[in-house]
């Protein structure tokens, strides 16, 4: 089926009432999706994430590149990334390393430099974000021409695996407070699994000041102020297969601080 719509995935995806096929001879650039993968000590998970990404994109036919931003991981993540570059080719996998762990904001800015996609996908490399959802993100984005599409674990058939009661309570409790205070128009704000139009993410990232969970909230809460539209896709979140999950007192305190800051400034 995809062979017919060789000019680009638009025809194939939107045949149910979208734009008509382009006539032969008229050049229409295809959309390209740049996936930004920040990594720190993800030697085990990174190759698996990349494999799943390649599988997902190959099966759906969308044009992509994967940009791995490693912050000087001591466990050899960089080696693995270099091997992946060789296996899949530099047109698909690009390592953009850094010397040490710096903030998420600079990670994404660094990753986006020279990115050739017109859409940016951000996600984690720890297998909690499954690349099989990316085609759904893309379809959702086209459906409403959303400026950003975010994952949700709380609606539809979204959910989690590997969380105990305490973790679920913390998550729902925090989300409840966030909804009451910020009324953000999105059900799941702390997620780092998103699709953005490139110019939208560049605009949003300029305004971000925080780290961790709050950074991702800052990347979506002001979206409405700036008249950006947000779509959502339910996903399953399978908590860390390898490695340790981090949710300590520190994270909770900084989350609350960030929440109150957003409350007072947006």
């Amino acid at each position: 089926m995809l062979a017919q719509f060789h000019r680009g995935p638009h025809g194939g995806e939107s045949c149910a009432g979208g734009s008509p096929r382009e006539p032969e001879g008229r050049f229409r650039p295809r959309n390209k999706y740049s996936v930004l993968l920040p990594t720190y000590n993800e030697r085990e998970n990174l190759p698996l994430t990349v494999w799943l990404l390649v599988k997902s994109f190959s099966e759906s036919g969308f044009n992509y590149e994967i940009r791995i931003i490693d912050d000087g991981s001591p466990d050899g993540t960089r080696d693995v990334a270099e091997q992946l570059e060789k296996i899949y080719g530099l047109d698909k996998i690009l390592l953009r390393p850094r010397e040490k762990k710096l903030g998420l904001r600079t990670t994404y800015i660094h990753g986006m430099k020279h990115a050739t996609g017109n859409y940016i996908i951000i996600m984690d490399a720890d297998l909690s974000h499954h690349p099989k959802f990316i085609p759904e993100f893309i379809r959702k984005q086209r459906e409403g021409n959303f400026d950003t599409v975010s994952r949700t674990r709380y609606k539809g058939n979204g959910g989690v695996h590997g969380w105990d009661l305490k973790r679920k309570m913390t998550s729902r409790g925090a989300n409840f407070i966030t909804q009451i205070l910020l009324r953000p128009g999105a059900s799941d704000l702390t997620g780092s699994f998103r699709l953005y139009k490139k110019e939208v993410v560049q605009k949003l990232i300029e305004r971000c000041l925080s780290r961790g969970y709050v950074f991702h909230m800052e990347m979506i809460v002001p979206a409405r102020q700036l008249d950006y539209t947000v779509g959502e896709v339910p996903v399953s979140f399978v908590d860390r297969v390898y490695g340790d999950s981090k949710l300590g007192g520190n994270e909770i305190v900084s989350f609350l601080k960030g929440l109150l800051t957003l409350f007072a400034t947006t």
Partner: protein
Amino acid sequence: MTKLAQWLWALALLGSAWAALTVGALGLELPSPCREVLWPLPAYLLVAAGCYALGTVGYRVATFHDCEDAARELQSQIQEARADLGRRGLRF
């Protein structure tokens, strides 16, 4: 207007309306039963809000989807991925 400003506005508006009515300022004399209800109203609302919050969060925790299938699928895909990457020359 920031969210904080909206909240402060709303609280100021409702708060002054409540105060005006309970104290009887503006020359508005409400019948006694009305005032008896009005006076502790903020406390009642706070408790009701607390119950609503607990109930909602409790319900949401109870209905939080557990993705068993997704976890199983992921495990089998990990096996597949490791095998394929090994064939392509990846040294783990």
